[in-house]
């Protein structure tokens, strides 16, 4: 036994020194080593991840490895079938399959599988040892989303904490917001002039967050108009939005103690067509000579047409949207604009309801945390420390 080994070894040495006989291309590359197969983390249980150490001829040695093939079998000695291929230089592969049983690429969870990795050159290959068994199974918690989970939990707790503080009667300070301060003046102006107020909820559906925020603002403004005995017109472009708007305004009038003054016909559905709707609203603006126009909610291309008509008609205009592409037109053509987040905050401002203010405070605290992380993170990153970066890194 020892003798044969010694003989083989000397042959190898001779071959090495004289470097002859075998044409190099026919030599298969050294196989990939340390092949490991294990369940893919954070998935639904239809995938196994395979890792290996690169073949000695990949990027080094003869540099002739072009790809790796990944083979799978249900038995360690069984028939291996090719599951996929990756270019040279890669050392991992996720073997995935479908989740539906009827799919022919179905990947059963909780079943043993064995893997081999094959290093390929242009005309030969070599295979690694068999790895496994490995099983695919689904996890109950996605670890890559841990930062999101922490964020969600922290934010929810902050909101609840501030709300309970507010319930206990704690007064919160919020800075003045130009667009909000203008609301009272705008309503006063309409009253003085004896002209109506126009309120546009935008093109969003009743489920859009911007529209929901706008409903709350409408409720407060309706209350104020009821107190001032000023007419408010709310043309809608969605039947559902209209019926919610009617309830909202009615509730505002009720809050002001003037339910008798509520007129349902002033809150009406026009049409769902974007441009037809705008044309009709423009008509209302010019016919009714509205003193103040509110545009709060989701707005698209029509923002520009509304703002121009109102501006030329000489109305005071207060606008707000979270559609970033439309904010510029509102800023340039209306008197006051609630930019993005300010729109959501506005409902808390106008109502001064402690509950809503509490949520706003939680938002501010979150923002402060973000700003501190941002500033310290950037400083840390300048010294090549990535602690803060990892706090915010989410794996999908």
């Amino acid at each position: 036994m020892k003798k044969t080994k010694a003989v083989l070894f000397s042959i190898l040495i001779i071959l090495f020194f004289f470097n002859l006989s075998f044409p190099q291309e026919n030599l298969s590359p050294p196989p990939p080593t340390e092949v490991r197969a294990s369940d893919t983390q954070n998935d639904n249980g239809h995938s196994i991840t395979i890792t290996w150490k690169l073949s000695g001829d990949d990027g080094a040695g003869k540099k002739n490895v072009v790809a790796y093939e990944i083979l799978r079998s249900e038995l360690p000695t069984g028939e291996f079938v090719v599951r996929g291929m990756v270019p040279a230089g890669n050392n991992t592969y996720q073997d995935r399959g479908a989740k539906e049983k009827e799919d022919k690429n179905y990947f059963p969870p909780h079943k043993d599988f064995y893997y081999k990795v094959r290093a390929k050159t242009l005309n030969s290959y070599s295979e690694s040892e068999v790895a496994g068994p490995a099983q695919a199974y689904g996890e109950w918690f996605h670890l890559g989303k841990l930062p999101v989970f922490v964020g969600t939990l922290a934010f929810t707790i902050m909101v609840l904490a501030f709300i309970s503080l507010a319930r206990k009667g704690k007064e919160f300070y919020v800075r003045p917001l130009a667009g909000i301060d203008a609301v009272d003046d705008a309503i006063g102006r309409a009253t003085e002039m004896g002209r109506p107020i126009l309120y546009i909820l935008g093109l969003g559906s009743a489920a859009d967050i911007a529209t929901i925020a706008s409903f709350t603002i409408l409720n407060r403004i309706a209350k104020k108009t009821a107190e001032h005995k000023t007419k408010i017109i709310v043309p809608c472009n969605d039947p559902i939005v209209m019926s919610v708007a009617q309830e909202t305004v009615k509730a505002g009038y009720l809050d002001a103690g003037r339910p008798d003054m509520y007129k349902e016909e002033n809150i009406f559905y026009l049409t769902s067509m974007q441009f037809a709707y705008v044309a009709a609203v423009n008509g209302i603006m010019l016919r009714e000579q509205t003193a103040t126009n509110f545009y709060l909610g989701k707005f698209y291309a029509e923002s520009l047409i509304l703002a121009e008509t109102g501006s030329v008609a000489g109305s005071i205009q207060i606008s707000g949207t979270d559609e970033i592409a439309q904010i510029p037109f509102f800023v340039a053509a209306t008197d006051f604009t609630l930019i993005g987040e300010e729109l959501y905050a506005a409902s808390a401002y106008l109502g001064r309801e402690p509950l809503l203010l509490g949520a706003l405070k939680a938002q501010d605290l979150a923002k402060a945390i973000v700003m501190i992380s941002l500033a310290s993170g950037a400083v840390a990153a300048s010294f090549h420390l990535d602690f803060f970066l990892r706090l915010f890194t989410v794996q999908m």
Partner: protein
């Protein structure tokens, strides 16, 4: 057939454009046609691309829990009957809940955490002055922009100065979006003009 179609399309285009001069029956006709056609178009599209694949196909495949969608959808239609119209609130509530639930994580991740993650960048890049300045501008701009959106402190003193800087950054970016939006609208008009003058009249090639 193609030629007739081009004529129809061109005339409809002119009909809409005629509104720019003044409202007229020709425009009214085109607009009404547009209202009808687009409602029909969406009706058919949602039927074949939502109704069939998402509802009917799933029910046929034995996934009967998709009936929930049909039930809540029908509840939505009850709005047409004033007496039981309030039931449509249930479907609205489902839609609102879904939106809020999906948006919560979607926005927290893509608009929130990923943007923060991308803004944590080195303030000093060795041997690259313009990148260093650029990174500084990004960090300062994002930071001061957030200061502007901070509601708990009055914009006074240093804080106020930062908020002011923030709003300038915001305005610069709105100006840029403004320019780009104008660009888009002009491109659309160029497209229509090219259709009228080229495809229809053959005056330009």
């Amino acid at each position: 057939m193609e030629r007739i179609g081009i004529w129809i399309a061109a005339l409809l285009t002119l009909g809409i454009f005629s509104f720019l001069y003044k409202d007229n029956p020709f425009y009214k006709f085109c607009e009404s046609l547009f209202v009808g056609i687009s409602a029909g178009y969406w009706f058919v599209t949602t039927f074949w691309q939502v109704f069939m694949p998402k509802l009917a196909d799933n029910l046929v495949a034995g996934r009967f829990y998709y009936m929930i969608g049909a039930i809540f959808g029908v509840l939505m239609l009850l709005r047409l009957f004033p007496k039981i119209g309030w039931l449509s609130r249930w479907s609205l509530a489902l839609v609102v809940g879904t939106t809020a639930g999906l948006y919560f994580t979607r926005y927290l991740v893509s608009n929130g955490m990923i943007q923060v993650q991308n803004t944590i960048i080195p303030l000093y890049v060795k041997g690259n002055l313009s990148q260093t300045i650029g990174n500084l501008v990004i960090v300062i701009g994002t930071f001061s922009g957030l200061i502007y959106f901070f509601f708990s402190k009055e914009h006074k003193g240093t804080f106020g100065g930062l908020a002011k800087l923030g709003i300038w950054f915001l305005m610069l970016s709105f100006g840029a979006s403004f320019g780009y939006t104008v660009m888009s609208r002009m491109s659309l008009l160029i497209g229509r003009m090219d259709y009228l003058l080229g495809t229809w009249l053959g005056l330009i090639r």
